[in-house]
C-alpha cells in the first residue's frame, strides 16, 4: 500500500509548524509518506466562491496525479483541503457527466480510486497501534479539542465522526494522557474564509471559541487544521483587541501534542513558530 | 368509413367506476351508445387476456377503469392491476396490438361526468382509427383453418 501526502499550500507556508510536526511524527513511527509530485493548490474557499468548475478541477488534478503515481491512500493534514478533495471525489462519483467534463478540463484520466484520509484517521490507523509503547512524557493537560467545520462537514459526504459533538480527537488525546474537556464550540466556525478580508468577523468568531475553552479551564486548544490554527493563534492580537481581553491559551496541533508525548523536542514539532507562546511541556 | 360505429367494451370495477357510471345515469349525462360495460369486483380481477379475447370477438376499443390509486375498496387491488397492466401493455405492444385502442383510466363513484368524458373521447378516438379488422382477421383465419382441417 502506497501512502501519499498532500500537504497543501499552508503547510508549506504559514503552517510550517504543522508540516514539521506531521513529518517528525511520521518519522518517529517509521512512516514515510511521499508527497504527490507537482501538486497544486486545491483552490480552497475562493474557487468555489467564484467558479464552480475550477473548484472541482483543481482538486481533481491532485487526485488524478495521486492515481497516476499509484497512491492508494492520501493523507491530507489540512482540514480545508481534506474537505475539498473529498467533496470533489464525491461529486464526480455522483455525476458521471460532470466527471467526464472535469477530465476534459484537466486533460487527465481520473477514476476515483485513491482513498482520502484526514490527519486523525491517519493517526488512528498508523500511530495509535504503536503509541502506548512510545509515550515517554504523558501529555497531562486539560485540552479542548477543536474540530472546526471542515473535518466533519458536510457530514453526509465526509462520513467522518459525529457531526455534533465529535469524539475521535478527544479519544486520541486521551491516549497520550490528556483530559479532553467537554467543549461547546467543537464544531463552530472560526471564520476561516474571511480570515484576511474581514478580520473583525474572524476575531469575533475565533474569540468565542477561545473564550469558551479558557472559561472551561482548558490548558490548550488542540486543532487539526492550519486554518483554524492561524485564526486562533496568529490572529490572537486582533482577537484580544476585539474582545478587550488577554487570552493566552496556546493552540497546538494534534500532531505536535503527540510528538511531544513521544519525546520529540518542541523545536522538532515547530512549537517555536507559534505566535502564542506555548509554556507547557 | 363515416357510418362506422365502433364497438367498445368497458371493464370496470364495481365500487368506483361502475358506481360512477350509475351516477352518469342518475345525472342524465349523455354519452355514445357504443360502450358496453362488464362489471368486475375490482380492477385487480381483470385478466388482461380478456382484452385479446375482446379484440378477437370484434371489439374496436377497450376501456379499463377502476378506483383512483389509494382509493381501492380492497385497498390494493387496483395497485396490482396497474402493475400487471404495465407489464401486459409492453407485451401487447410487442405483439403489435394497437395500444391507442385501449383506455386505462380512473373514475370514482363521484365522477359521473368524467365517465361520460372517458367514454366519448375513447369512442371518438377509436372511430378515427377505424375498425380493428386486422386483428380479427388474423385470429379468426387461424381458427377457420383449423376447422377445415378437421
Amino acid at each position: 500500500m502506497k501512502i501519499g501526502i498532500y500537504p497543501g499550500c499552508s503547510l508549506e507556508g504559514s503552517a510550517r509548524d504543522y508540516n514539521e510536526s506531521v513529518f517528525a511524527l511520521a518519522k518517529a513511527f517509521d512512516i514515510e509518506p511521499v508527497q504527490i509530485p507537482d501538486w497544486n493548490c486545491c483552490g480552497a474557499t475562493a474557487a468555489h466562491n467564484l467558479n464552480k468548475e475550477l473548484s472541482l478541477a483543481l482538486p481533481a488534478r491532485i487526485l488524478a496525479l495521486a492515481e497516476k503515481h499509484g497512491v492508494d491512500e492520501i493523507l491530507v493534514p489540512c482540514a480545508a483541503c481534506y474537505s475539498r478533495l473529498v467533496v470533489t471525489k464525491h461529486e464526480l462519483q455522483k455525476h458521471p457527466e460532470l466527471k467526464n467534463r472535469i477530465c476534459e478540463v484537466i486533460e487527465m484520466d481520473y477514476k476515483g480510486t485513491s482513498k482520502i484520509i484526514n490527519v486523525i484517521e491517519w493517526i488512528d490507523k498508523y500511530i495509535i497501534p504503536k503509541l502506548e509503547e512510545k509515550v515517554k512524557k504523558p501529555f497531562n493537560y486539560k485540552v479542548a479539542c477543536y474540530y472546526g467545520c471542515l473535518l466533519v462537514r458536510p457530514n453526509k459526504v465526509l462520513n467522518y465522526d459525529r457531526v455534533e459533538d465529535p469524539q475521535t480527537m478527544d479519544v486520541v488525546m486521551s491516549k497520550i494522557g490528556a483530559t479532553a474537556i467537554d467543549f461547546a464550540f467543537k464544531t463552530e466556525c472560526c471564520g476561516a474564509g474571511l480570515s484576511i478580508s474581514r478580520t473583525d468577523i474572524v476575531s469575533k468568531l475565533s474569540g468565542k471559541i477561545i473564550e469558551d475553552a479558557e472559561h472551561r479551564g482548558a490548558d490548550a486548544i488542540i486543532v487539526a487544521c492550519p486554518m483554524c490554527h492561524s485564526n486562533l493563534d496568529m490572529r490572537r492580537p486582533d482577537i484580544n483587541k476585539y474582545w478587550n481581553k488577554e487570552f493566552n491559551i496556546p493552540v497546538i496541533f494534534v500532531t505536535q501534542a503527540i510528538g511531544l508525548a513521544v519525546g520529540l523536542t518542541p523545536a522538532q514539532v515547530g512549537l517555536k513558530r507559534h505566535f502564542v507562546e506555548v509554556k507547557i511541556s | 368509413m363515416s357510418d362506422f360505429e365502433p364497438k367498445v367494451v368497458a371493464f370496470v370495477c364495481n365500487w368506483c367506476t361502475y358506481a360512477g357510471a350509475d351516477l352518469t345515469g342518475t345525472s342524465r349525462i349523455k354519452y355514445a351508445t357504443n360502450v358496453k360495460i362488464i362489471r368486475f369486483p375490482c380492477t385487480g380481477r381483470i385478466d388482461f387476456m380478456l382484452l385479446l379475447k375482446s379484440f378477437a370477438n370484434g371489439a374496436d376499443g377497450i376501456i379499463i377503469s377502476g378506483c383512483h390509486p389509494n382509493d381501492c375498496h380492497y385497498t390494493s387491488g387496483n395497485f396490482h392491476a396497474k402493475r400487471r397492466w404495465i407489464m401486459f401493455k409492453e407485451l401487447m405492444d410487442f405483439m403489435g396490438i394497437d395500444m391507442k385502442r385501449i383506455t386505462y383510466s380512473w373514475v370514482s363513484a363521484a365522477e359521473g361526468a368524467r365517465w361520460a368524458e372517458v367514454v366519448n373521447t375513447t369512442v371518438a378516438r377509436v372511430r378515427e382509427l377505424g375498425p380493428y379488422v386486422s386483428y380479427q382477421k388474423m385470429v379468426n383465419t387461424h381458427i377457420e383453418e383449423e376447422v377445415t382441417n378437421e
Binding site: 510550517r16 493548490c41 467558479n51 464552480k52 462537514r153 466556525c189 471564520g191 484576511i196 478580508s197 513558530r273 | -
Partner: protein, 186 residues
C-alpha cells in the same frame, strides 16, 4: 398524472437555483434553524432563512435584493446550516451559486469588495504559481482592496517565524494549471 406535473415556465432566481444546484427553495418551511446556527447571521443583511423566503416569493424585486445583498458574501460556507436543516436544504451550495450569479451580473454588494478582492487575489496567485504564494497574495490583496495598513504587524511576525516565503514556489507543469484556468473560464 402526478400532481406536480405543472409545466409552467419559471424564470425566477429560485428556478435557476433549483436547476443549477438542485436546491428547492420551496422545501424550506421557514423554521429558522439555519439562521439560529449561522455564525455570521448577525452580520448579514438577510439571514439565510430570509434569503430562502425571498427566493420563495419569486418576485423580481426580491431576487434583485438577494443578488445585491451583503449576506451572500459573508457566508463562510461553514455548512452549519445544512448540517442542521430539517429539510436538508443545501444553503452553502446555493450561496456559492448566488455569489457567482451576483458577480457575473455585476450586482455584487459594494460592502463585499474586500471579500471579493481577496478571493480574486487568491485565485490569481494560484493561476500564476499553481500554489498559493501567501506573501504575493497579501500584496496583491492590499493592492486590490487599497487596505494598505490592515495586518501591517502580521507579515513581519510571520517572517520572523519562518512562515512567509519570499519567493513563490512554482509548479513544474505550470502550463497545465494555465490550461485548467483557461478551460474553466466561461
Amino acid at each position: 398524472m402526478s400532481h406536480s406535473d405543472h409545466h409552467i415556465e419559471r424564470n425566477s432566481l429560485a428556478a435557476k437555483v433549483e436547476k443549477e444546484v438542485e436546491v428547492k427553495a420551496q422545501k424550506c418551511y421557514q423554521c429558522g434553524k439555519c439562521s439560529a446556527g449561522c455564525p455570521v447571521a448577525e452580520d448579514m443583511d438577510f439571514p439565510p432563512s430570509m434569503v430562502l423566503r425571498m427566493l420563495q416569493t419569486e418576485l423580481p424585486a426580491n431576487d434583485e435584493k438577494i443578488l445585491k445583498s451583503h449576506s451572500i458574501w459573508l457566508c463562510v460556507t461553514c455548512e452549519m446550516c445544512l448540517t442542521r436543516c430539517p429539510m436538508e436544504i443545501d444553503i452553502p451550495s446555493m450561496m456559492d451559486y448566488l455569489r457567482q450569479k451576483s458577480r457575473s451580473e455585476g450586482k455584487a454588494n459594494p460592502k463585499a469588495k474586500n471579500i471579493i478582492a481577496f478571493h480574486k487575489s487568491f485565485l490569481s496567485s494560484i493561476k500564476h504559481t499553481g500554489r498559493l504564494f501567501e506573501l504575493g497574495l497579501i500584496i496583491d490583496y492590499k493592492r486590490q482592496s487599497l487596505n494598505l495598513f490592515q495586518d501591517a504587524g502580521l507579515a513581519p511576525k510571520m517572517i520572523s517565524r519562518g512562515k512567509l516565503h519570499f519567493m513563490p514556489e512554482k509548479l513544474k507543469d505550470m502550463a497545465h494549471i494555465a490550461k485548467i484556468f483557461k478551460n474553466t473560464s466561461k
